[in-house]
C-alpha cells in the first residue's frame, strides 16, 4: 500500500471508463494514483447513497471515508470472489452497520422477522378479500406524482421512517437499479430475507402515497 497518495488536480469533466477489475486491482495494489482517483470517482457517490440509507444523512460522508480506508487496508487480501464494486459496497454496508450500532444501541438491524402485516388486516373481510379496497389515485404517472412537492416530501418522510435495512434494500434496488443477488451479497442477507425487506419497504412507500392521494 502506498505511504501517501498526493491529491493532484484532475479536470472536473474527464471521466474515463473504469477499467475491468482484472486490470484495475493490480494498479491499485501498486499504488497507481490515477487508478485510485478513478475508483473513488466511480463508486464514492454510490457509497454515500448506501451509507445514507443505513446510517442517515449526518454520518454518511464520514462512513464512506472510513470505508475507503478499510477498502485500501483490506485490498491485498481481496480474494476476488465477487466484483470489486460488490466487495467495496459490502465494506460500506458493514462500516455503516457498525456505526449505526455505535450511535444507537437500541436499533435492531434484523427487521426481516417483523410479524407486522404488509396491509392492515382490518382492510380485509374474514374470507381475506378486500373490505376496504384501494381507492383511485389522482395522479397516474411517476412524473405526475413527483410534480407535487407535498407528495415528494411525504415519500421522503416515508423513506426516512423505514428501518435501516429496508431503506438500504429499496434504495439499492429501486433507486439505483441493482439486482437482488448483488444487494443480498452487499447487505449480507439471504435472498428470501432481502425480498421480504424490499416488499415491506415498497409497501410502506405505497401506503404513504395512498394516504396523500386519497385525502
Amino acid at each position: 500500500m502506498p505511504a501517501a497518495i498526493p491529491a493532484t488536480r484532475r479536470p472536473e469533466l474527464s471521466k474515463p471508463p473504469l477499467p475491468a477489475d482484472a486490470e484495475l486491482i493490480p494498479k491499485l495494489l501498486a499504488g497507481d494514483e490515477t487508478a485510485y482517483a478513478q475508483v473513488v470517482r466511480a463508486y464514492h457517490g454510490l457509497m454515500i447513497h448506501l451509507a445514507r440509507a443505513i446510517v442517515g444523512e449526518a454520518f454518511a460522508d464520514e462512513v464512506a471515508q472510513e470505508a475507503w480506508v478499510a477498502v485500501l487496508r483490506a485490498l491485498p487480501r481481496f480474494e476476488r470472489r465477487s466484483s470489486l464494486k460488490t466487495w467495496i459496497l459490502r465494506i460500506v454496508s458493514n462500516t455503516a452497520k457498525s456505526r449505526l450500532r455505535h450511535e444507537s444501541r437500541s436499533v435492531s438491524l434484523d427487521d426481516t422477522m417483523s410479524e407486522q402485516p404488509i396491509v392492515d388486516p382490518a382492510r380485509f373481510k374474514s374470507n381475506a378479500h378486500w373490505a376496504s379496497p384501494p381507492a383511485m389515485w389522482h395522479a397516474d404517472t411517476p412524473d405526475a406524482l413527483l410534480a407535487s412537492s407535498q407528495l415528494r416530501s411525504c415519500i421522503d418522510a416515508a423513506l426516512r421512517a423505514l428501518p435501516p435495512m429496508q431503506r438500504a434494500v429499496v434504495s439499492l434496488r429501486d433507486m439505483q437499479g441493482m439486482d437482488m443477488e448483488t444487494i443480498c451479497k452487499v447487505l449480507e442477507v439471504s435472498e428470501s430475507n432481502g425480498r421480504v425487506l424490499l416488499h415491506r419497504a415498497r409497501s410502506r412507500i405505497q401506503q404513504a402515497i395512498e394516504e396523500h392521494e386519497t385525502r
Binding site: 482517483a37 475507503w68 480506508v69 381475506a128 389515485w137 425480498r195
Partner: protein
C-alpha cells in the same frame, strides 16, 4: 398459497409478482386472480407506480462526484493509512 390466491395473498406476493420472482404456477394464480379482481389489479398497479416513482425520484440520481470530494477522500485515506498498512 393455493393455486388461486385471495386478495390478502396478492398483497403479500405483489412485489415478487412484479419482479418475476414467483414460480410460474404462483404467477399464473396471481394473474388469474387479478383478471377477476379489479381491487387487486389496482393494488398491484399502484405498487408498480410506486416503484416507477422511486426510480425517477431526484435522490435516485446523485450528482457526479466532484474533484473536491475525490481530493477529500484521498486526503482522508492518506491521513489514516500508515505506511506499513
Amino acid at each position: 398459497m393455493s393455486f388461486m390466491p385471495n386478495c390478502q395473498d396478492v398483497t403479500k406476493h405483489s412485489s415478487d409478482y412484479l419482479d418475476r420472482s414467483l414460480s410460474r404456477w404462483k404467477r399464473l394464480g396471481m394473474w388469474f386472480h387479478m383478471m377477476m379482481c379489479v381491487d387487486c389489479r389496482r393494488y398491484v398497479s399502484q405498487l408498480q407506480l410506486t416503484i416507477a416513482t422511486l426510480k425517477k425520484h431526484p435522490k435516485a440520481n446523485p450528482p457526479p462526484v466532484s474533484n473536491e470530494q475525490v481530493d477529500n477522500v484521498v486526503k482522508h485515506v492518506c491521513q489514516n493509512l500508515k505506511p506499513d498498512d
